[in-house]
């Protein structure tokens, strides 16, 4: 029973981490119809920002979050103003290949400056701390912090989109750019803002994630893949969808734990022999494939 409860708790926490990673991707898609392949690289930059700032200044990694958010916002705005704006004039394929190119550029810049070695944070207020709540549930302080941040970010973005004038302007731009411009909405600025929000949410996630996972310039790829699965499952462009889909993917990553639970509880020896952990990431891609096959619109549907 311990392993079941432990896996559920871990799945929820991991799911919230993943939904925070995917938030920026779904925001940018929801508002601009652009699939940002460089999303994982934004996360990688957030991770490096947190790590290097904490190491250089001796500050606790948690205090680097505002800086990471600022850098992410700037990066998003710069990418839009200096690059994506021009891609929008081309066909869809240009946008796809363009952000793919952006991914390669960012990754190689990181390689140039930081080298390809894994780096990790080893000191900090939350690093290495965990709470044993009993019944096999052990909660890591760093992951709990990311989960709290995820909830705050999702609520924040949802409130911004649905309860503020700015959100209305962003939605109006997304729905009908020309119409919005006639109404006096500075659409270019709205698009840049969308990229800024997308960038800030993912870099802030990165700066927190680096408290428990190590970073190298290639780390973005696996997160991009996971974020795509989350967003596809939740429905491209849907903010609440990304949150719940993140939780589902978190549980998918805990399949080996659930498998162990059945194997141990019911003493099924053949289950014990299956190397489930070797295929941990496979299930995510399998589920991505299945979602695309049976429900291309995801759980919450595409934005209308």
């Amino acid at each position: 029973m311990d392993i079941l409860l432990g896996s559920i708790a871990s799945g929820i926490l991991l799911g919230m981490v993943l939904s925070l990673v995917a938030l920026g991707l779904t925001v940018i898609f929801g508002l601009m119809d652009i699939v940002n392949f460089a999303h994982g690289e934004f996360l990688m930059i957030g991770m490096y920002t947190g790590l290097l700032t904490a190491q250089a200044t001796g500050l606790d990694p948690l205090l680097t979050l505002p800086l990471a958010a600022g850098i992410g916002f700037l990066l998003g705005v710069l990418c839009y103003g200096g690059f994506v704006k021009y891609l929008l004039r081309g066909p869809m394929i240009a946008q796809l290949l363009g952000t793919f190119g952006l991914m390669l550029v960012l990754r190689n810049i990181a390689l140039l400056f930081f080298g390809s070695e894994d780096r990790a944070l080893h000191h900090g207020l939350l690093v290495g701390k965990s709470f044993d709540v009993g019944m096999g549930i052990i909660i890591s302080a760093t992951k709990l912090a990311v989960a709290v941040l995820a909830v705050l970010s999702f609520v924040g973005v949802w409130l911004l989109m649905n309860r503020t004038k700015l959100g209305k302007a962003l939605t109006a731009t997304a729905l009908n750019r020309q119409g919005a411009r006639y109404m006096g909405i500075p659409t270019e600025r709205m698009n840049a803002l969308a990229w800024g929000i997308g960038g800030a949410t993912v870099t802030i996630a990165g700066a927190l994630i680096v408290n428990f996972w190590s970073v190298n310039p290639y780390v973005g790829l696996i997160f991009t893949m996971i974020a795509f699965t989350v967003v596809a499952l939740g429905g491209f462009g849907s903010v609440p969808g990304a949150f719940f889909a993140g939780l589902v993917v978190g549980f998918i990553m805990e399949i080996p734990g659930f498998w162990d639970f059945f194997a141990i509880t019911f003493n099924i020896s053949w289950m014990d022999a299956v190397p489930m952990t070797s295929f941990k990431y496979t299930w995510i891609y399998v589920s991505y494939f299945v979602i695309m096959l049976i429900s291309p619109r995801g759980l919450f549907g595409w934005k209308q």
Binding site: G6, D118, W213, M253, I264, D272
Partner: protein, 436 residues
């Protein structure tokens, strides 16, 4: 008559010289050895160690250092080739077998190397050994321990380090010794206290082989392997793996991990409050300096198999001398990685000296015939002698391993102490493993 005799002598002289030049016995000015190590990527820390070890051996081989008690230190360069010096061409394979094979081809075809060394990751070494075999270029492997590598029947592959069959057997001999009260400072532990084992190994060539060996020897020695996990060394999160290990309540946890995953594994074990009585790592990530510098006190009490522990210097003067030189150069003590790359290059020097030529066939013949005595080596082996035939062809038959335990000295420094072989143990063993 006399004139024709003179002519004949002259002709003979010219023929002899030409023949000598053709066989390559006349000095080659430079002997090029391509060295493939993971200089970047997850195992970069080990790669740096490996490189520094090989460079130190190169320095000793190319210069005369008579105060070091090693044959290669006596001469400048390779004496049998007129003092030809060795050049190492380092390439970074990033732990990627495909890249390793490509780089090996490049070294052979473009750089025209006379031999190869490397490549640490068994998976990369496997790919590189296939290339070396294809082109007929000798490859001496210094630090890959998958038993499979010497079971391929290759004619151009030799391995100085003992492989995982030796090391894993050592582990079970050690566990058996624990139950028999042979461990220094520890009364016999009842077998039921350490009978349940669980292993987590990275899933490439090396880790998968170790995992199988643990199951095999576990059965042979009467232990129960409750769980064997294979995981991706590049995984970002190992919490489900660790939970899976903890679920079977193992007495001992056994690992085969590279650098970054070994560190992540220890952090996750700590996070999940794992409480094994024994924690053992199959070298690699568990013995690079970063393991201790990153994790600090968390490592105290964990065991690792290795081939070099600085304490060996107490019983081996040549190891003390080389370790001091290495420390002056890098600031670190020799580790299992650097000591083995040092020894790998040392083997190369002996092979070249015996071959007296850079022709692959001569090198092959020499490698199959050399015998380096144990007292010339920094590692505690009986020597180096390659099996020239049989099932384990190319394997050094005189190697052996050590098991070390991280312990904290009075000055707060964490060092490896020898706990196996029992007769050379340097400290009392800490048992059970302290709680995280």
């Amino acid at each position: 008559m006399r004139r024709s005799l003179k002519c004949a002598r002259l002709l003979m002289g010219i023929t002899l010289l030409t023949a000598l030049a053709c066989t390559g016995a006349v000095m080659a000015e430079e002997i090029k050895i391509g060295v493939l190590f993971p200089l970047t990527g997850g195992a970069a820390a080990a790669g740096r160690e490996l490189r520094s070890g090989a460079e130190l051996a190169l320095d000793i081989a190319n210069n005369a250092m008579p105060d070091i008690n090693m044959t290669m230190a006596k001469n400048v360069g390779i004496k049998s080739m007129g003092g030809a010096k060795i050049t190492l061409i380092f390439k970074d394979h990033e732990g990627n077998p495909t890249l390793g094979a490509d780089l090996a081809k490049k070294l052979i075809l473009d750089d025209k190397v006379h031999g190869l060394m490397g490549a640490y990751h068994s998976s990369v070494t496997k790919a590189v050994s296939a290339v070396a075999e294809q082109y007929g270029i000798p490859l001496i492997n210094d630090s890959s321990t998958s038993p499979e590598l010497t079971k391929q029947g290759y004619k151009w592959f030799w391995r100085t380090t003992p492989h995982d069959v030796y090391f894993t057997k050592d582990l079970f001999e050690f566990l058996k010794g624990m139950t028999e009260g042979k461990v220094k400072g520890l009364a016999a532990v009842p077998k039921k206290d350490i009978t349940n084992l669980a292993s987590a190994c990275e899933k490439t060539e090396w880790g998968a082989a170790v995992s199988e060996l643990i199951e095999k020897f576990g059965k042979d020695y009467g232990f129960e392997v409750k769980k064997s996990i294979l995981y991706a060394a590049k995984a970002t999160d190992l919490s489900s793996e660790v939970r899976s290990l903890i679920a079977v309540k193992p007495d001992a946890m056994l690992f085969a991990s590279y650098t970054s995953d070994a560190i992540l594994m220890m952090k996750t074990l700590k996070d999940q409050k794992a409480a094994p009585k024994l924690l053992w790592g199959q070298n690699a990530g568990f013995e690079v300096p970063e393991f201790v510098s990153t994790l600090g006190d968390t490592t105290v009490g964990s065991l690792t198999r290795t081939v070099f522990i600085p304490k060996i210097a107490q019983v081996k003067p040549v190891a003390a001398k080389i370790n001091a030189m290495y420390k002056a150069k890098t600031g670190n003590d020799l580790s299992g990685a650097s000591a083995r790359s040092f020894t790998g290059l040392q083997a190369w020097v002996h092979v070249l000296e015996k071959a007296g030529s850079v022709k692959p066939a001569d090198i092959q013949k020499a490698a199959n015939a050399i015998e380096i005595p144990g007292d010339e080596l920094v590692v505690p082996w009986q020597g180096i002698k390659f099996a020239a035939s049989g099932e384990d062809i190319g394997q050094n038959t005189l190697g052996m391993g050590l098991i070390g335990q991280y312990q904290k000295a009075a000055d707060g420094k964490i060092d490896l102490e020898i706990v196996y072989p029992f007769n050379v143990a340097t400290a009392n063993m800490i048992y059970p493993f302290p709680k995280f």
